[in-house]
Amino acid sequence: MAEESTRYFLGIADKIEKAFRENRELVKAILKKIGEYSKSLESLYGKDFKFKIMNFCGTHEWTVTHFGIRSLVPKNIELVAGPGCPVCVTPSHFIEEAIKLALDGITVYTYGDTYRLRTLNSVRGYRSLSEVRGEGSVKLVTSLVDAIKDARNSNRESVFIGIGFETVAPGYASAVLKGLVPENLKIMSLVKLTPPAMFYSLEILREKPTEPPVMGVIAPGHVSTVTGAKAWSVVSENYGIPVVVSGFEPIDVLLSILEILKQLVKGEAKTVIEYKRAVTWHGDLRAQRIVAKAFRVVDDAWRGIGFLPKSGLRLRDEYRKYDAFEGLGVKEIKPGEWGYDLPPGCRCAEVTLGKAKPTDCPLFMKVCTPDKPYGPCMVSLEGACAIWARFGSGGLADEIAKELSLTI
């Protein structure tokens, strides 16, 4: 294809995203409506009732914080972060296993933030893959394709640390089913499924009666391109709360908040797609099919949380020749063996589940900083703590803007 037409299409893509990022008129219209609904809710539920809306993706939390969305919404709406950071919820044990492999001379391919993740136990004196980089052979990649290419060239025994949610699974599945993975490369599938974590965090917040319940969920947009919005209808049905599958631009998130409030005022609880430009109700059927073909669903351990039923993906037996758990002897954790794997004092699990704010943790920005992360939520840039550390929580910014009589 000619370069100009590529440029032309990218120009369109860019403008579409911008239409959801840089349109203050639209933002004003949405905020006006949000304000109206928030008033109606106030008269329905009383002045002091806080409407807790949980976002699931770390990227949604990033959007909320980075664009100062908390400073834009009315005071009775509280936006909380959920368990949507795959790096934060990867058990320490598997990183320890990866460090062992690296020290044994196996090339370990990893994404950037997994690379910095600190383990609970030291492995021969090392506590993260980044520490091993000088000793063993750890390589940073952005995708499985990068790892495949590099492994083909090197011909060395190697492993790819396959963390992620439903979004990455079809890619991994496709590579396995199409036989693209060379013999010397094994995949350590640590893929996690998001709905079980959402159920769990909604449950746990319900068990804590002092806390206001979650009244609405901003569901992951890109996970839903694969699973379809239908994956979330169980949430709206079982918990009786609105769920909106949202895009990642700030206007997407504001529209999703608006839709949630609208449903609450009307007394509805539906799963609705805001991110219509990319998500459909049924998702991508081929993606779902190949994932089911390559992977089996297992009960899986979540860091700091424990085992959640049917929440992880491992390669099926037919594809064991690609499987690091088989070929490289990586040890699984069994439900009985899982031990609490957060460092002492760290409240990441509560932060992950929307029970605590990063600022509630006594270690936040004291012992635990982006420079020297202590808990996993500070390591990954998707982690709520790391996001708050970089951008603040928004409260002070809001006050200053008011004092200076600045407007949106």
Binding site: W62, V87, K149
Partner: protein, 107 residues
């Protein structure tokens, strides 16, 4: 490129070439450099000239004109009467959707 700072982030890219036998596409993120991406979705949904969402080197969705139009409909629904104030955004989006449609025809 390395790292994966935002796990849920997807970057829009244009499909430059598709190899359905390996289900690998060549995509351009806008820097004129062509990179490989695994096709995670149905192959028939991905063809040259499409704008796709790429996440960690995997094509996970395609931006379609129908999708954009649906999105505008959604804006209309949630904003109701106030939609007028956002007319500008609608106009640009409608135009973009049109050019997207023209694009996939010429693809």
């Amino acid at each position: 490129m390395c790292g994966l700072a935002k796990m849920c982030w997807g970057s829009p890219a244009v499909v430059v070439d598709v190899d359905l036998s390996s289900m690998i596409a060549k995509v351009d993120y806008g820097d004129g450099i062509v990179r490989d991406a695994l096709i995670g979705i149905a192959g028939e949904r991905v063809s040259r000239g499409d704008i796709v969402v790429v996440h960690a080197g995997v094509i996970i969705s395609r931006l379609s004109d129908e999708g954009v139009l649906e999105h505008i409909k959604f804006l209309d629904e949630v904003l109701g009467e106030d939609a007028k104030e956002a007319v500008k955004a609608y106009e640009t989006l409608l135009e973009l959707a049109k050019s997207l449609r023209g694009g996939s025809e010429n693809g």
